[in-house]
């Protein structure tokens, strides 16, 4: 049970999802979850103007990808993800890895790594 992890990737929201999913499927990832988030980090902001009202935007639309894995080594995912997402410009994003205690598949009732 201690060998399950959540890999959380926060990256550009213009990422080509299809390519990303393909890459993940290659290394055996079966499921993942996406959410639209907003982030601020190192990428520089810009200004929007609405009838003279300046709105400084340093919060960007980002894509969050969550993948819980056990059998697939976390490092493989990191490597694969980095290779797809790396552009070398500010805004490429971050990967965070968290420990996962337990996993259950609601449909089958399976628990632990088997549920993934």
């Amino acid at each position: 049970m201690s060998d399950m992890f959540k890999v959380e990737i926060i990256t550009r929201n213009s990422t080509d999802l299809e390519a990303f999913k393909m890459k993940m499927a290659e290394i055996g990832v079966s499921g993942m979850t996406f959410s639209h988030v907003q982030g601020c980090g190192l990428e520089e902001g810009y200004t929007e103007l609405y009838r003279g009202v300046k709105k400084v935007q340093n919060v960007f639309d980002r894509l969050k990808i969550e993948i819980v894995v056990s059998s697939v080594p976390v490092d493989d995912i990191i490597k694969a993800a980095s290779s797809v997402l790396h552009t070398g410009k500010a805004g490429d994003g971050k990967i965070f890895v968290y420990p996962v205690q337990q996993t259950i598949d609601i449909n089958t009732g399976k628990q632990g790594p088997a549920a993934l």
């Binding site: 929007e48 103007l49 609405y50 009838r51 003279g52 009202v53 300046k54």
Partner: protein
């Protein structure tokens, strides 16, 4: 009675009617999503309230003979307002009444842009009722009902003073009295496509507004038609170019605002100037309104949320002056004194300025008194919590968007 003119005025009337719903969209798109229903309600409820008030008493106060300051009660409850044309008209008198109704509705609704996102609904309603009776009706009487501005010989083809200066200034006064929104400097329009829809329907309706103001389809009406479209187009270009130069990017909101600015500017001049003259009128209209909503507003520090003042009063003032510059008797025989640029000297210009100043003083003072009274009866300003949660939920118990 001329039936072709009558059918034309029916069309013009429904076109102007459409402008108030258009305003609901134009304004609604500009606020944050938590206030869109509240903002749209202001225009929509004004449509309902003024429709009733107008047939009961408003039209009478504005257009029955009375004295130089206000009309009488001859047309109370549409008494004496029948199908027969008024003297000098070729259309049914009750159609004229309907046409004028749409102006009263629109003018009153424009005001609401200034105090959007922070007024309480009961105060809004009371203010609206009072304002249309005590500010709009007398003013309409002065200019169109045989009152003193008409007498003086100032020109206002379709309502630069009556509609735009009056509503814009009233908005500013109310905005000053009820104060700024929290966070006023960090808001952004929640849906510019609604603003676009509203803006183009305003332009569309303005063909009824300006062309219909001739009350007949003749050569002057055709000038008004061409000028209206031309000035709107020039307003778009004026705003876009100055914005591009100053802010480095031309925006859609700017382009739409420029159209409205051009339309406001041509309103008092539409039937008095040539199509070629309407290009600078609209173009400069776009530029002065850009200055009004950008520089002036920031400088003076008021929170005219949706720029009722910056577009309508600023644009309307320019339009009134422009009429004094460009009016020409070769366009409309009613012009007895050409504008400055057409060899008429500053005579007309001077009367235009007097009419504008009188409008500012009257509207400014009376609106201030009205909103102060309203504020005593119902607290006009929303509480901090109401403002934070949004007026849609707190005033109307609804949300505009859901799954």
């Amino acid at each position: 009675m001329d039936m072709a003119n009558t059918v034309f005025m029916f069309v013009a009337t429904v076109l102007v009617w459409l402008m108030t719903p258009a305003l609901a969209l134009f304004y609604g798109g500009l606020v944050r999503s938590k206030n869109v229903l509240s903002t749209a309600m202001h225009s929509f409820t004004t449509l309902a309230i003024v429709s009733i008030i107008w047939i009961v008493i408003g039209f009478s106060l504005a257009f029955s003979s009375g004295n130089g300051i206000i009309g009488g009660l001859d047309y109370f409850g549409l008494n004496n307002v029948g199908f027969d044309p008024a003297e000098g008209h070729t259309i049914p008198f009750n159609l004229f009444m309907m046409f004028q109704m749409t102006f009263a509705i629109l003018t009153t609704a424009i005001v609401s842009g200034a105090y959007a996102e922070r007024i309480r609904f009961p105060a809004f309603i009371l203010f609206t009722v009072l304002w249309v009776l005590i500010v709009y009706s007398p003013l309409a009487h002065w200019v169109w009902g045989g009152g003193w501005i008409a007498e003086m010989g100032a020109l206002d083809f379709a309502g630069g003073n009556v509609v735009h200066i009056s509503s814009g200034l009233a908005g500013l006064v109310v905005a000053l009295v009820i104060g700024k929104r929290k966070n006023a400097g960090a808001t952004a329009p929640h849906n510019l496509i609604f603003t676009l829809i509203g803006g183009v329907l305003l332009w569309f309706g303005w063909f009824g507004f300006n062309v219909g103001s001739e009350l007949a389809f003749d050569d002057v009406a055709m000038y008004a038609f061409i000028n209206t479209n031309t000035a709107a187009a020039a307003g778009v270009l004026g705003w876009m170019i100055i914005e591009w130069a100053v802010n480095k990017k031309p925006t859609l909101l700017g382009a739409v605002s420029g159209a409205i600015a051009g339309l406001v500017a041509i309103t008092p001049a539409a039937g008095f100037v040539s199509p070629i003259a309407s290009i600078p009128i609209g173009f400069i209209g776009g530029i002065v309104c850009f200055w009004g909503v950008g520089w002036l507003k920031k400088k003076l520090g008021y929170d005219d949320a949706l720029d009722a003042f910056g577009l309508h009063a600023v644009g309307g003032t320019w339009g009134g002056i422009a009429t004094g510059l460009f009016a020409s008797d070769s366009i409309n025989a009613i012009v007895t004194n050409n504008g400055l640029f057409y060899g008429g000297g500053i005579d007309l210009l001077w009367r235009q300025v007097v009419a504008i100043v009188a409008t500012y003083i009257f509207v400014g003072v009376v609106t201030f008194i009205l909103i102060s009274i309203v504020n005593l009866i119902f607290k006009a300003r929303a509480t901090d919590e109401e403002e934070a949660k949004g007026l849609d939920l707190t005033m109307h118990g609804e949300r505009a968007y859901q799954d």
